[in-house]
C-alpha cells in the first residue's frame, strides 16, 4: 500500500484535524462551528471551505438553527464519515506497520 491510496479527502492536515475532532464526540452529537473553529485554530473562511468539501462527500452534516436573533451552525460526523476515518486509520496502520516509528 502507498500513501496515494489514503483517502485524499481526509489526508489533508486541516481536514484530518476536523474529522478527528468530530470523531471524539459520541455518535450523533454535533459541535458548534465556533467551538470547532476555536479547537482547530482556523479562520472562519478557511474552515468553511474544508467543511464544504467534507459535506459534499457526506462525511459531515451541518445544521443551522436560530435561537432568537442568534443563528447557530452545528457540525457532526456522519456514519459514512466515521467509517471513512476508520478505513483511513487502518490504512495508516498498514502503511506504518513495516516502518520504524
Amino acid at each position: 500500500m502507498t500513501s496515494g491510496e489514503l483517502d485524499p479527502l481526509i489526508h489533508v492536515p486541516t481536514r484530518l484535524k476536523i474529522v478527528a475532532t468530530l470523531a471524539a464526540l459520541p455518535d450523533g452529537d454535533a459541535l458548534s462551528f465556533t467551538r470547532l473553529q476555536d479547537m482547530i485554530g482556523l479562520t472562519p473562511g478557511n474552515l468553511i471551505i474544508h467543511l464544504r468539501k467534507l459535506e459534499d462527500a457526506d462525511y459531515i452534516s451541518s445544521e443551522k438553527t436560530r435561537n432568537g436573533a442568534v443563528s447557530i451552525t452545528t457540525v457532526a460526523l456522519t456514519g459514512h464519515g466515521r467509517a471513512a476515518l476508520g478505513t483511513y486509520t487502518r490504512a495508516l496502520r498498514d502503511l506504518l506497520g513495516g516502518l520504524p516509528i
Partner: protein, 220 residues
Amino acid sequence: MNHTPDTTTAGNGGNFDPQQAAALLDQTTRQARRTFTPGPPLLWAFRAVFVLVAFGGYWLSVRGRDPYSAPSGGLLAVIFVLVAINIGWSTWALKRAGAGVSGPAQRKRQAWLAVMLVAWIVAYAFTVPLYHATATHPVWALYPANAPLMIVGLVAAATAALRRDWPMAGTTLAIAIVAAVAAFGGPAGAWLIMGIGLCAVCLGTAAFKVWQQRRGVVRP
C-alpha cells in the same frame, strides 16, 4: 492547545507523509478527548484526596468515643469547604466539556445529571426523618457514612449502564460496593473503610482517564 502547522489551506495533502498524518491524528484525538472529558484525571485525583481527608478525618474525630458523638466543628467546616470545591470544579469541568456540543448523547448526559441530583437530594434528605425519629447514635453514624453513597452509586451505575457508559458504570458500582462493605465496619470504622475504599476507586478512575486520553488511534 498546540496546533500542528497546517501545510495546506484548502488543497490536497501535498507532502503530507503517513508518519506526519499518524502523529497528527493521534495528537488531535488526544486533545479532543481531553477537551470533551467531563471528569478530567486531575479532578478525580482531587476527589481521592478529598474523600481520604473527609472520611479519614471523620474517623479520627469519632473513633473510640462511647457513646458515639458528632465530630468537631472544625472538621465539618473543612469538609464543607472540600465539598464546595468539588462541586465548583465538577460544574466547571462539565460546562467546559459540553460547551458547543449538542445531540442525543449530550441530552442523555444532562438527563443523567438531573437523575443524579435527585438521587443525592433524596439520599441525604432521609437524614431529616431519621433525626426527628430520634435514631440511635449507631444508626445516626452509619446512615450518613454509607447509605447515601450506596444509593447514589447504585442509581448512577444503573443509569450509566443504560447509556452504555461502561467506565462510569464501573466507577459508580465500585463506590456502591465500597459503601456496602464499609457498613460492616461499625459506626466509627465505616468512615475509615469509606475513606480508604473511595480513595482507591478515585485513584483508579484517575489512572483509567489518563490511559484513555493518552491512548493513540494509530499507535495505541
